[in-house]
Symmetry: C2
Subunit: 527 residues, 2 copies
């Protein structure tokens, strides 16, 4: 083992020497090309001992293929590498000159490490000066010796070591003026120090999303969001679901026609789908049995709230069942359980990084999940002094209160509310055969906010027509929908989940714009 390591070091040292020569050449070339460029080491009367060890690299145009340099990840910089020479490509997070020294913090996604330049035999004054003048957020290549530190560095994620820099090259230079400071954007939001520290407001963040997304918190949020999608698909695929893709451009407004975006389509016009529901149901009528789809969903609602977007990512599923829609409802419930377990077990690190900036109680859930009937929910609310009529929907405040009551009683942030009043659900919802006031429909909640709405859909064209008439819907306008069930269709149920809401509520965040990488609302279509 020891021999192997020595061997590795040797070969990596010779590679580094080669590299140093190459870099020197490149630097000279760069100097030649960009002799008038800013930040270029100025020609000094003294001999600069560090010439060829620092500067601006030319733009990487893939000129050379056989570069043998291996980069070490910032995450991997720790005591075990102590004494070794490494190359790191990272962002210059901050730099601070102090006399003959320059302290730099290098950042790579969620991880940071301190780097140090000291005027010495190998490091010239101009090199230190150059280092301190590199604009923050530039990408740099650093050659350095890993050095253990006596006192841990609290301001960096890598606290046990620092880097003693021997080469420093700018790979991609940032503009000197930043519209927001990463340090400000990364600052914890604690109510107690409100007003003491600079905050970056939501619009400034979103207007400069490229910078904002670089904070450790945002790096972690979008990695976790990718995890939610992956878990959703993996769990369902294992259960025999088939992924389908449904069209976003549709010929008729899917749900009643309100809140739909119009698209000009060649010489005519079309609409953007508000839900993939019809297509999921068609897939069921076409024998796919269990389907899911992940894709953009559009709502032309002029709602400027913390939880509405005009475009969001829908995680939708639909499933044929044999006898009872609970076969589907409990499949969805189990899907959530599996997702929550996956997040808890695989994203510990991300959750902890996010909690440092946005503190929240850990998300709790039961296995199997809690199922409450709507009437039980109403009773709990009534006991807390809030009356909800038997055929009335829950208001948002009532939903939130019920979430708190459920949490207090059952210690779960996730639950299923079953058997909603028929009167508050769409016409295609299957009525409860045992109580005509109720329906075979359910909502699911996270931290007291609805994240899924679903139901058994009417799969019989006669009953569907009857219910549509009862809702005073023009049958001729939904003929294509009704016809989907004309050639035999199994009983089925399903639901749709908003991805950004799930991530927001799982993490206990306060705004859906924190969990949509490029959010769209009535006032924002950029960047």
């Amino acid at each position: 083992m020891v021999e192997d390591k020595a061997g590795e070091n040797k070969s990596s040292k010779s590679a580094l020497k080669k590299e140093a020569k190459k870099a020197e050449k490149a630097a000279k070339k760069a100097e030649h090309k960009q002799s008038n460029a800013e930040n270029q080491p100025a020609a000094t009367p003294e001999v600069d001992v560090s010439i060829g060890k620092y500067g601006n690299l030319p733009v990487i145009t893939s000129e050379k293929k056989d570069v043998e340099r291996k980069f070490t990840y910032v995450l991997d910089l720790n005591k075990t590498l102590s004494g070794q020479t490494v190359w790191v490509r990272a962002r210059l997070h901050t730099s601070r000159a102090r006399g003959k020294q320059c302290f730099i913090v290098l950042r790579q996604r969620e991880y940071t490490v301190q780097a140090l330049l000291n005027v010495s035999e190998a490091v010239s004054k101009p090199m230190v000066k150059f280092s301190s003048s590199i604009p923050k957020e530039s990408i740099v290549d650093v050659e350095a010796r890993v050095s253990e530190v006596p006192n841990s560095i609290a301001s960096c994620s890598q606290q046990d070591v620092e880097l003693i820099v021997s080469q420093l090259w700018v790979v991609s230079q940032s503009a000197a003026q930043l519209p927001l400071q990463l340090e400000d954007a990364s600052r914890p939001e604690k109510p107690e120090d409100e007003g003491l520290n600079i905050r970056v407001n939501q619009d400034t963040r979103l207007d400069n999303r490229i910078l904002d997304l670089r904070t450790p918190t945002n790096q972690a949020i979008y990695r976790l969001e990718a995890g939610v999608c992956r878990l959703f698909r993996d769990v369902l695929t294992k259960k025999g679901f088939v992924e389908i893709h449904t069209p976003k451009i549709i010929s008729a407004a899917s749900e009643g026609g309100a809140n739909v975006f119009t698209v000009s389509y060649f010489k005519g016009s079309a609409y953007l789908a508000q839900s993939p529901q019809l297509y999921k149901q068609m897939a069921i009528a076409a024998d796919f049995d269990k389907v899911f789809t992940v894709g953009a969903v559009f709502r032309a609602e002029d709602s400027n709230t913390h939880r509405h977007l005009t475009e969001f990512v829908g995680l939708d599923l639909e499933m044929a069942f044999n006898f009872h829609y609970h076969e589907v409802m409990l499949t969805i419930g189990n899907l959530f359980t599996e997702m929550f377990k996956g997040l808890r077990d695989e994203y510990k690190n991300e959750i902890s990084i996010i909690n440092q900036q946005y503190p929240a109680e850990p998300f709790t859930f039961l296995d199997p999940p809690l199922v409450l009937e709507y009437d039980e929910g109403r009773k709990m609310l009534a006991e807390a002094g809030v009356e909800v009529g038997a055929e009335e929907d829950l208001s948002t405040p009532a939903e939130k209160l019920l979430g708190r009551l459920v949490k207090a009683k059952f210690d779960t942030d996730f639950y299923i509310l079953d058997k909603f009043p028929l009167a508050v659900r769409p016409f295609y919802t299957m009525p409860d055969p045992n109580n005509p006031k109720y329906s075979n429909s359910y909502d699911m909640f996270m931290r007291g906010e609805e994240i899924l709405s679903g139901a058994q859909r009417i799969h019989d064209p006669v009953l569907l027509t009857e219910r549509a008439k009862h809702h005073e819907i023009d049958i001729s306008k939904i003929a294509a929908y009704i016809d989907a069930f004309k050639y035999g269709c199994p009983p089925h149920a399903g639901g749709g989940i908003g991805l950004e809401r799930v991530v927001m509520l799982y993490l206990g965040l306060d705004n859906i714009r924190k969990t949509s990488m490029f959010p769209r609302d009535p006032k924002r279509v950029t960047p």
Copy 2:
């Protein structure tokens, strides 16, 4: 083991008995409710010994939860179940009465089995008559004994057994008149019997997509398509890529403004994204390092060809690299190799079902994939008598010819063509530093058709501005794009893949409408 099995049989028998009783009750109820309904066993003067064993079930409204009936999949019906009584829920594919018998073919997705009703002590004449009158495509519940057959049944997927029916219930009845026959839609396309058999044309299929999608071939195509998506994501996730979601509604036309759909957006207007490229690049500039996204892509091109859609599913990826764009190009090449291996190994059955209807040569590929330079491709074409200028793009016929030449020489249906002329690529493509006429860009081909176009993108705002000016692009209109690179950006490359094209070409199909579940073209926005 034997004991266990016996136990299982016993309990399942008692469950079935219970079931039979329940079904009888249900049937009586159904009879009562729907006494005037069509296909209801008519009251005959003779006693019908099968009463309670057949009929139309009421619509399944989830009235009962504790139904213990277990269904057997058609796929699992084979000799090992011989002598056992099973319940099957499937479509009535065809039925044919012959004297005192009725032959039924039951279909479940890709699988079919023969079922037989014989007038006997247990099966009445009216029951056989009822059976033969059930409309094709209805969903039925069948109780039957599995019986080995002396001669294999060539017309069914389950060739060794048939079902001797003891109960037959209609769960969901199809309309009697079908706009297309599943048998016609499933018929192999062999050039030799052109004109002899009824075919279903593309538009009839698409107009009645719910029926068309029920053919074994379509069931297999969309299962395989789901597999392509899954493999794409799984391979990339293992390589450290992060899934992102990019907005479809954008404020400015992404690539030049031609061929873009306009959306009315509250009081203003917006566009549908033609590609997620800008957003993938922003994610790279925001330190996500390696990203992919799967989602709808919109092209307002009035192209009515076999391979164009106005909305398709883009499988897009983008990746930062250290020194050379081949780091990315070869990652994508390896992604394809892994996908092809996965399809070959995991979708044998689907491929064989599809090939029965649409015969095609098996897809061949090399590991690692073949990489040709554009100039080599030009030379091969020139040798075959087709001249392509050094700064000219390949025409579609030239592409196809080159595909055939490559296949003949290297025996691969997949290859990478590298170093396209700079003149034929978009302004943001990185020029080749070693030859200003060429660029760091590549296309990838399957069976001679392009399925991915990609390149190293210019990550330096100065060079990007210079190249845009060279292309006579109004800089003010792409300011937001250029600004994305202002705060430091690593060198990066990527590409975009059309899902439907990959599936079409992998399977050797002739039209992209065969691989889009609900295709959109200039003339079609329904269903």
